[in-house]
């Protein structure tokens, strides 16, 4: 009796074993994809920094180069760069996101296309020109502070303001009208619709805005050295002026690594804070 049962049993066991192996393989592949997703960029950036370090160490540095690329200088420029990026990002978000919400209310919505159009046109203003004109204003008006991070932060905020405003508004406009109608139909007041439906649905948009602002600002902050704000752009520029490629490449790689790291971290935050249902 048992002998008649053996063959299907063996098949069943084999099938189950295979299925389990496939599941495990699938799990392994998913795990590997997750590892690449989370660790790929940091490991890549670490490898780039290590390669840069080894390359610079291997070079015969002359006295000018040795004086320009010291750890102290690079660290203080990195700190300035990060400070400028964070300050300008916080300020631009505090200004642009509320204004974007305000500008998409029923009473003010008719201005929205004009503001979004202005946001598109604003892309044509070169960052270098805008920062320089604002800095000129700060330098020539005695009432305004002309040194330190303040003029540069104002410039960075002015440059990233329109893109963030535009993104917030486009995101809020995308919230499904039917969902809003449903909210109204349930007897929600307008403020309740905003707070309970529109803003939660717009969270991804606002988080994307945070990321865009950080990336824009970390890039534009590379120009801060021109206006007394310091930052890692200084090392790039010194390398160019002194015709020292070691200095130039060190500055450029550090700026690029910082920007990619900021983008990666902002991406992680975006992923973690976005509501699961969306």
């Amino acid at each position: 009796m048992s002998s008649t049962l053996t063959p299907p049993d063996a098949q069943e066991v084999a099938r189950r074993t295979q299925a389990r192996d496939e599941d495990a393989a699938l799990g392994r592949r998913a795990r590997r994809a997750r590892i690449v997703h989370y660790l790929g960029m940091p490991l890549f950036l670490l490898a780039v920094l290590l390669a840069l370090y080894l390359w610079v160490q291997g070079q015969e540095l002359d006295s000018i180069e040795a004086r320009t690329i010291t750890l102290g200088t690079l660290l203080s420029q990195t700190r300035q760069h990060i400070t400028l990026t964070l300050y300008s990002t916080v300020v631009v978000l505090l200004l642009a996101v509320p204004l974007g919400i305000f500008a998409t209310r029923p009473g003010t919505r008719r201005f929205a296309p004009a503001i979004i159009g202005l946001g598109n046109a604003g892309q044509a203003i070169p960052s270098l020109g805008l920062l320089a004109l604002l800095y000129y204003l700060f330098r020539t008006q005695p009432a305004l502070p002309s040194t330190g991070t303040f003029p540069v932060v104002v410039g960075l905020v002015a440059y990233s303001f329109l893109p963030i405003l535009r993104n917030t508004m486009v995101g809020l406009e995308q919230v499904d009208r039917f969902v809003l109608e449903a909210g109204k139909g349930m007897g929600m007041s307008q403020r309740r619709v905003l707070r309970r439906i529109e803003l939660p649905l717009a969270v991804p948009v606002i988080l994307a805005g945070v990321r865009t602002a950080l990336v824009l600002n970390v890039g534009t902050a590379a120009l801060a050295f021109l206006f007394g704000g310091g930052g890692l752009g200084q090392t790039i520029f010194s390398g160019f002026q002194l015709r020292r490629n070691v200095v130039l490449v060190t500055g450029a790689v550090l700026v690029a690594v910082l920007a990619l790291l900021v983008d990666y971290l902002a991406g992680l935050i975006e992923e973690k804070l976005t509501p699961k249902g969306l």
């Binding site: 960052s127 800095y135 000129y136 020539t140 520029f237 160019f240 990619l260």
Partner: protein
């Protein structure tokens, strides 16, 4: 008033005109190369699901790298001048073009493709006769964004020895707050904005001429 004097000075005019021509060159060449590359990459990313996410993430990573850094990294490889700027700007212009090519191709109505298949068109013929013409408005919008982006970023090339209107702005920056610096800043900035507006009008005209009447809004 001082700005009008600055603009009416013949030597300024010569300077601004030659820098504007350089700036057009610095925009048109990278965008043209990026259109060819971006079209290929976009079609590839649309066709192959395995390549889609690597292609899109590489081109969007490129746009994350600050322009001053990318210009500078090209200098030891290519040398000083327009070269590093052209390569760096080409890499920046790729993202909007690739992204819009992919989404343009995905937006083509499946029924249209099916009827083309039913008519016996080959895959290549379908791509050129049906898919690309239908995707063209979205692709053109991507090329337009890429151009505006390039016009603005090209100004930064001047900091590391590149040509173009950024030079006028940079001249002004080095002289702040001396008299005459404001005029240079305004001159360079306004001419760049003017150039962006002209490019925008050009794309409007290109759209009028090249978008098939049947799919115009």
């Amino acid at each position: 008033m001082a700005f009008l004097e600055y603009l009416s000075d013949p030597s300024t005019q010569r300077e601004l005109i030659s820098q504007t021509l350089d700036h057009i060159y610095l925009t048109a060449v990278p965008v043209a190369i990026a259109v060819v590359l971006g079209l290929g990459l976009g079609i590839l990313a649309h066709r192959s699901p395995q390549l889609r996410s690597p292609i899109l993430s590489v081109v969007s990573t490129l746009l994350t790298i600050p322009s001053l850094a990318l210009f500078a990294i090209m200098i030891p490889i290519i040398g000083i001048g327009a070269g590093p700027a052209i390569v760096a700007l080409t890499l920046y212009a790729l993202l909007p073009i690739v992204r819009n090519t992919v989404s343009g191709l995905f937006s083509v109505d499946n029924a249209v493709i099916e009827s083309a298949k039913g008519m016996g068109m080959s895959a290549t013929k379908r791509l050129w006769k049906i898919e690309l013409p239908n995707a063209w408005p979205v692709m053109l919008a991507g090329i337009r964004v890429a151009t505006l982006l390039t016009v603005g970023i090209a100004a930064i090339a001047a900091l590391v020895g590149g040509p173009g209107l950024g030079q006028e702005i940079f001249t002004g920056i080095r002289r702040i707050p001396a008299s005459g610096s404001l005029e240079s800043l305004l001159g360079g900035t306004l001419f760049i904005i003017l150039l962006a507006v002209l490019f925008d009008l050009l794309y409007l005209a290109i759209g009028r001429v090249t978008i098939p009447r049947g799919i115009r809004e």
